[in-house]
Each structure stands twice: as structure tokens, then as C-alpha cells.
């Protein structure tokens, strides 16, 4: 870790006509950090990333990548970044191995080494056997893997992943997480944007919560999660006549509907054992149990007072996935 930040932006503004996509954004991401960017559609996450890599021009403010100004010293700034974007923006004319060779070449890597790196990156994400295929012939999951391989082929100091797991299956999500974790452990700074707070919780050292073009808060995922509430849904063998008594420090709220008991707690992982113990002590038999973690939407509602699941106009780059099943929910339901 050095004194120079991986990303440092101050008072960053981007306007599209009357729309202010970034409204004086201030943010610092340390070298070697795994940093999450959370926010609803239209929060400005993608706009921010695009300014760093040169796909969008800032209106005003300052942005640096490893001390290189993204406008005045754009070549060194861009050379340091590997980007796996949300959208599939891959060269359709060439087999994917050549696509990676080209990308490496643009970054000044000589042809022989570029070929070796392309093979290595394809092996790393598990699509080496598809190296002679063109992008259009890959499955959706393979396309997502290729975007990561393309970002890795230049051996970037800063890896930016823009919604890398939106709409992908559990296996692929875990594979991607493993690759990215490994890179971060070896010193690569990672900036991850996601709708999934669980994803941030599993991967990130710190997260910034964005809304309407500025950072609302920077916190550890644990801190953020503690601000929301979890829900424990318990199916009982009998139908209790009234809500059982719980330790009110742990349980915020409880309701009963037939044989189903819904308990709202601050931390589902910690409270679940106490709740089950309390139920058993009261003579109830638990036949099924489900813990639903805090959703990003709930935290946003708490932080902003907005309904975060509603996409705002004017930032089409931030894809909508907030209404999809979250990774943790998916894994719980599959378990």
C-alpha cells in the first residue's frame, strides 16, 4: 500500500443538459483496497466509472487514478485500469483470444507476451477451450467471464467491475468472486459496483453508498448491514394463539399468521438461535426456518427516504437489477 490513492476524486460533477448525474462527488479509494460502490439505478455509479476510464467527459472537478489525472495524464491513468463493464462491448470481428491479444497490445504489451497473457486470462476465468470462438457464439455466462478476462489481460493495478454478477447464476458468481478475491489478495485494487449488499459484505473492505450523484456515506459492509433489519420467518408445527415472548433487545417486532411467525431483528445471523431457543422453551416445534437479510432497498429507504428500487431517469448506464433475487437470497432458497 502506498500513500498515493488508487482513486481520488473531489467535487466531481457531470451534467447531461439539466440532469446532474454526478453532483460534487468526493471519494478516495486506497491502493490495495477492495472497495464497493452501492447505489440504486441512476445513482451515478457508471458515470463515475466512465469518467475514470475516459468514456465520459467530466463537467468539472478533479479525478485521479494512482496520481494520474484522468484528463491531463489520461494515458497513464487508463493504462492502470482494467474494466469489466456492465454492457457487452466486445469486438465481434475476432475470436476471443485475438480480442484479448488486441487489448493487451493497445496497452503496449508485445505480441508474444500478449498471446501468453490472453491464454492465461482465458484459463483463469475458465473459457480457454472457447478461445477460437467469436463473442456472439458464447453463452451469457461465458460472455460475462470474457469481460473479466479482458480486464485482467493487461494486469491492471486497478480492476473495476461494474455490476459483474447482475443476472448470472450461482456457480458463475462464486467463480467470479474467487478470481477477484485472489487478485485483490495479490495487491490489485478492486472497485466493485453492485446492487447486492450481500456481495459487498462478502468481498469489500469498505463501501460507499451513492445516491443522486454523490456519496451519502462510506462505511464497512458490517456497519452498513447493522443499520438495516433482517427477517426470520418460522413455520411452527402448531398455530400459536398469540405472539410468543422474546428478548426485546434482540427482536424489534414479531407477528403471527396461522402457523407462520415473522420476526424482525437487527442481525438475523445472531438472533436466530435465541429466537429458536425461546420458541422451544415456550413449547413450540419449529418445522421450517428462513432468514432474509437486510436488503439494499431497505437501507436506502432508511438513508434517503426514497424507494431505491425505482430507476431514475437519465442514467441508462446503471442497469436495473434491484428487483432480482439477491445472491444471498438465491443461495438460501437453493440450500
Amino acid at each position: 500500500m502506498t500513500d498515493t490513492a488508487a482513486i481520488e476524486v473531489s467535487d466531481l460533477v457531470k451534467e447531461y443538459g439539466d440532469l446532474r448525474a454526478l453532483d460534487g462527488l468526493d471519494l478516495r479509494v486506497e491502493d490495495g483496497e477492495f472497495f464497493g460502490l452501492l447505489g440504486p439505478n441512476g445513482a451515478g455509479k457508471t458515470t463515475f466509472i466512465e469518467i475514470l476510464v475516459g468514456l465520459t467527459r467530466k463537467t468539472s472537478g478533479h479525478a485521479e487514478v494512482f496520481g494520474h489525472d484522468v484528463v491531463d495524464d489520461y494515458r497513464n491513468a487508463r493504462d492502470a485500469i482494467g474494466l469489466a463493464p456492465q454492457e457487452f462491448n466486445v469486438d465481434r470481428f475476432f475470436p476471443i483470444r485475438e480480442v484479448l491479444e488486441h487489448k493487451a497490445g493497445y496497452h503496449g504489451i508485445p505480441p508474444e507476451e500478449a498471446g501468453e497473457r490472453a491464454d492465461e486470462a482465458l484459463k483463469r476465468v475458465g473459457i480457454y477451450d472457447k478461445r477460437d470462438e467469436r463473442f456472439d457464439w458464447l453463452s451469457g455466462g461465458m460472455k460475462r467471464r470474457l469481460l473479466l478476462a479482458r480486464a485482467l489481460v493487461t494486469d491492471p493495478d486497478l480492476l473495476i467491475l461494474d455490476e459483474p454478477t447482475a443476472g448470472v447464476d450461482v456457480q458463475l458468481r462464486r467463480d467470479l468472486w474467487n478470481v477477484v478475491r485472489d487478485l485483490n489478495a495479490n495487491g490489485t485494487t478492486v472497485l466493485l459496483t453492485t446492487h447486492y449488499i450481500e456481495e459487498a459484505e462478502r468481498l469489500c473492505d469498505r463501501v460507499a453508498v451513492m445516491d443522486e450523484g454523490s456519496v451519502l456515506d462510506v462505511a464497512t459492509p458490517e456497519d452498513l448491514m447493522s443499520r438495516g433489519t433482517d427477517t426470520i420467518t418460522i413455520t411452527l408445527a402448531d398455530q400459536p394463539r398469540e405472539v410468543p415472548a422474546f428478548d426485546r433487545d434482540a427482536v424489534l417486532d414479531a407477528a403471527v399468521d396461522g402457523d407462520r411467525l415473522t420476526v424482525r431483528v437487527e442481525d438475523g445471523g445472531r438472533a436466530v438461535a435465541d429466537v429458536v431457543t425461546a420458541l422451544q422453551a415456550a413449547g413450540h416445534q419449529v418445522v421450517d426456518l428462513d432468514v432474509s437479510r437486510t436488503s439494499l432497498e431497505e437501507i436506502f429507504v432508511q438513508m434517503t427516504g426514497d424507494d431505491a428500487s425505482t430507476a431514475r431517469d437519465g442514467d441508462a448506464g446503471d442497469g436495473g437489477a434491484s428487483d432480482e433475487e439477491s445472491p444471498a437470497q438465491a443461495e438460501v432458497s437453493q440450500a
Partner: protein, 269 residues
């Protein structure tokens, strides 16, 4: 991963992009080289042989098939140089894979140069193919002699500049286009009229005073005249003036290209 060490001369990044651009069309000869080949076989058959024998030019000193040959070479070089640059850039924008280039540490000048260089080469290659077709028709005809090139070096420079100028114009077109119709519009309403009034099919002095003068606003006039001088040693304009105009125009349009790419015109918003 400093980029400073690779700046002198043509950097690895520039060479990679030039190579990518060349491979794109070389690997698709049916889309890139076959159409101008067939078109020009038809042009030479109809204008050169069937009609050509009935058309005199330069006081019958030069057979019409030879007169029209440099013009058709220019037509091919111009349209392919333009089309390659405009299509490649627009297609990259349309499918957003031009982001692979834009997010790389290539300078704006290097990026522009790569597109222009690869497109220029395509224009020159098509020009050579057309020249070979024209020569084949000429040689096969019992009435005509083997064609020789009067000023080979001049011709090479002039043809390269012609293709480069229109490749540079093609870059503007590729950045400006908002959908595929724009590219068609440019070809139909800009390139084609310039070509047809540029002296490809008729000698410039066949025009009356006003139209003769107005013709000099058309850059195609300089290109056709220069290439015709290189092939046949006949010219209306001073060949060095033509070369100078071509070189100057190419430099100006290239500078505009770089400025547009730097501004992100059509690329970053």
C-alpha cells in the same frame, strides 16, 4: 506499466490497432475486395471497351480505356478509404467495442493515425486491383498497347495521399453518423457527386468557363488529375500543385480528426 517507453516511432499499441484494422478487412475479401473487382470489370467492359471505342479523348491521342483507368483507380481508392474508416469507427461505436480502444492508453493522435493508416492501405490496395483489371482489359484488346506508368513514384505518393485524404474524411463521417443511414447518405450525396464531377469520366477542359472554374472547389479534381498525370503524363493542373493541395488537405482533415477524437465527438457522450 509506463507507456512512456513505447512512444517513439510507432508504438506497440499503434501497430496493434493498425493490424487489427487491416485484419478486419483482409479476412473478409468477399465484402471488401470482391465488390470493387466486379464493379470495375463491368466499368472497363462497358466504358472502356464497348463505349470507349466510340469516345475520343485528348484528340484521340489516348484511348478512352486508358483515360478512364486512372479515374476509376481514384474512384476505388477514394470510396474504399472513406468507407473503411467511416464503417469501422461507426460499427465500433454502434456495438460499443470501440471502448476497447478508448479505454486504452493510446493517444488521440495514435488512435486516429491507426484508423487512417489502415483505411488508406485498403484504398491503395483497391486502387491497385482496379489498375490490374484495367491493364488486363487493355492488354487483352487487340487495338491497344501495354500500359506503362509515366511517373511511378509520383503515382504512388499521389494515390496514397488520395486514399489518406478520404480516409480522414471517413473518420469524420464515422464519428458523425448516428445510424447506418448516415453512412449511406454520405456516400450517395457527398462522395458520389464529387467523383462524378471530378473528371473521372471526362477531361476537365471539356467544361465551359464557369463550370470549369467551379470544378476547382472539388478536391476530387486534384486527385484525379494527379493520378492521371502519374499514369499517363497528361494533366490539366500543375502536378506539384495537385500534390500540394492533396497533402495540405490531408493534413488539415487529419488535424480535425484528432481534435474531434480528443473532444470525444460521437464517442464519449
Amino acid at each position: 506499466m509506463s507507456v512512456a517507453s513505447s512512444i517513439p516511432g510507432l508504438s506497440t499499441g499503434t501497430v496493434t490497432l493498425v493490424r487489427r484494422e487491416i485484419l478486419r478487412y483482409v479476412r473478409r475479401p468477399r465484402n471488401t475486395f470482391l465488390p470493387p473487382f466486379i464493379n470495375n470489370v463491368l466499368y472497363f467492359a462497358v466504358f472502356g471497351v464497348i463505349l470507349g471505342e466510340r469516345i475520343g479523348s485528348y484528340g484521340d491521342a489516348i484511348p478512352y480505356i486508358l483515360f478512364v483507368l486512372p479515374g476509376l483507380v481514384v474512384l476505388g481508392a477514394v470510396s474504399n478509404g472513406f468507407e473503411n474508416a467511416s464503417f469501422s469507427i461507426f460499427h465500433g461505436r454502434w456495438n460499443e467495442y470501440i471502448h476497447e480502444v478508448l479505454t486504452s492508453p493510446l493517444s488521440y493522435g495514435q488512435t486516429t493515425f491507426a484508423y487512417v493508416a489502415a483505411s488508406t492501405l485498403r484504398g491503395v490496395l483497391v486502387g491497385v486491383i482496379i489498375a490490374v483489371v484495367g491493364v488486363a482489359f487493355t492488354v487483352a484488346h487487340p487495338a491497344y498497347d501495354l500500359v506503362s506508368i509515366a511517373h511511378p513514384l509520383y503515382l504512388a505518393v499521389a494515390l496514397t495521399l488520395v486514399a489518406a485524404l478520404f480516409a480522414c474524411i471517413g473518420v469524420v463521417g464515422g464519428l458523425w453518423a448516428r445510424d447506418f443511414d448516415y453512412l449511406t447518405v454520405l456516400n450517395q450525396f457527398l462522395i458520389r457527386p464529387l467523383v462524378f464531377f471530378g473528371g473521372v469520366f471526362y477531361p476537365l477542359d471539356a467544361l465551359d468557363g464557369l463550370f470549369y472554374t467551379l470544378s476547382f472547389l472539388n478536391p476530387m479534381v486534384f486527385t484525379v488529375d494527379a493520378v492521371r498525370y502519374g499514369f499517363l503524363d497528361v494533366n490539366v493542373l500543375n502536378p506539384w500543385l495537385s500534390l500540394g493541395v492533396l497533402a495540405g488537405a490531408t493534413a488539415v482533415v487529419f488535424a480535425i480528426d484528432v481534435a474531434l477524437v480528443k473532444r470525444g465527438y460521437g464517442l464519449t457522450e
